[in-house]
Amino acid sequence: MKSWCTDAAAVAVVVTALAGASPLSGYAQHEHEPEQGTLGIPSTRMGSGTAWLPDAAPLPGYHASAGRWTVMVHGNVFLQYDRQFGTRADDQFGSVNWLMAVAERPAAGGTLRFRAMASADPWTLTARGYPQLLQVAEPYGGGILTDRQHPHDVVSEAAVMYEHTVGTRVAGSLYAAPVGEPALGPVTYLHRPSAAYDPAVPLGHHSQDVTHTSFGVVTVGVFTRGLRVEASSFNGAHPDEDRTNFDAVRLDSYATRVSWNPGAEWSAAAWFGHLAASGGAHVHDALDRFGASVLRTRGSWSTALVYGADLPVGAGHPLNTLLLETTLELNEVNAVYGRAEYVRRTAADLALIGSVSRELDIGAVSVGYERRVWRRAPVAAGLGARGTLNLVPEELRPFYGSRTPAGLVAYLQLRPSGSAPMGMSR
């Protein structure tokens, strides 16, 4: 068991990093029009990895300039009490948190960009993660953890990216990362404005955006102002259960994604990938993964619709997941959000082989509310709560106590208080 000193220290690192942004020379909060990047693409479009958000997406953050360099800092800290109910009841005080930095400068007629993302989750949640009913089971410590979501790796992105225009309407990009995100999946939930106030991972995470932490990624892309086509080679293995180390870098899987931003409010994407059989925290046979997403931000209302599916080689049919999530900032102080999900789980996902059908349909509906209670640049603090009602088939009733096992999370969220671009290009 971790001492509270260790936990507090780990969180303090992230909090202090955020809180300390403002005093740094050259730092300033920006709430102006977003930077215009390569081909005039607004920098607000840059989501996770190389994925695109709607141009209108609000992303709070800060940037500083030093010579030709521009640095962006963005982060999120939830200090939460997580309570899951039913036969598999569990609870935990902990913190989900992450900090991201993007540094870029002009280089050789294009833009050179470094991206890094870190988290103290392994200490603030422990290596066992946090309780979440019906989440995919994982090997841990020689056994299997069920109904928990794993922590993020301490370093979940360390990437370099280069963009260069070809003529006036087309540009190319190269993204390379010992740990990063391939062109597979939607903008990961951590960076979706539709999930900005939600501390919990979607149940469909492992079929949608779980590859956002892949140890070994190379992505090449070609894009215009509205269309982006990418191809990745990457490590298809999920990170191992030691979330504080660097896993071996491999390129054994591949993916391709097409992204389309038809207007400032919309972003759509479709992807396909093949993941080699792997070990790691999620042992799986070779599988195909595919899906599509539509993201929309209109004013202070952001919504995401995500379809993702895994097709294990030889399975004959895909394991589908569907997510609809939305966040509405009612005003400067209040925000409401919700998420509805359908996932097709296997008995293996729930570590219940032999006891239930090979595949089961699961649903979950979550609603949440957050009220900002404090704001002083560069940090805003909000108190919030989210409730989840899971919907399970009758054969899971003995394992969860009812057909509607519930969960509740109450939290204090710290995030940047201003809106500024996440990534930039010149």
Partner: protein, 146 residues
């Protein structure tokens, strides 16, 4: 100053919760005995503790010791049940493999196959509990001859 105050409040909150950050109800470590009706699931292991639940590899004429662990619905490991249990392995297809009891280990079987590599099927594990004369069958563990 207010940022410092906020950090102080955060630190105090963490101090209050720090001792319980691990949680633990869903994967209880408190293994122990139970009643027949407590048995909700089983997992399969080899003699070294390697997990066979998800995939049981067999090799021609090489016996594999399969040890069954019983679990309650909340995931608690049941080291035994009142009155004990009888256990039966059923392979589908029937010629996939056979099993024999292990002396002194009522929850273990030695499994042997003579089927050619590539032959696949499933194993059903049936537990009969004399204490209440109930029977539970756990179906569909995947078996493949390599």
């Amino acid at each position: 100053m207010r940022t410092t105050l906020l950090l102080g409040v955060l630190g105090a909150a963490l101090a209050a919760c720090g001792g319980t950050v691990t949680g633990g109800g869903a994967n209880p470590a408190g293994a122990g005995p139970g009643e027949p009706h407590d048995v909700a699931s089983v997992r399969l292991f080899d003699s070294t503790g390697g997990e066979l639940t998800f995939h049981m590899p067999l090799f021609d004429s090489v016996p594999l010791r399969v040890v069954v662990s019983m679990y309650a619905a909340n995931g608690r490991h049941l080291t035994s049940v009142t009155g004990g249990q009888d256990m039966q392995f059923t392979f589908t297809p029937a010629g996939l493999a056979s099993s024999t009891p292990v002396t002194g280990q009522p929850l273990a079987r030695d499994v042997l196959t003579v089927a050619p590599p590539g032959t696949g099927g499933t194993l059903d594990v049936t537990l009969h509990f004399p204490a209440d004369t109930s029977t539970k069958t756990f179906r569909g563990f995947e078996v493949l001859v390599h």
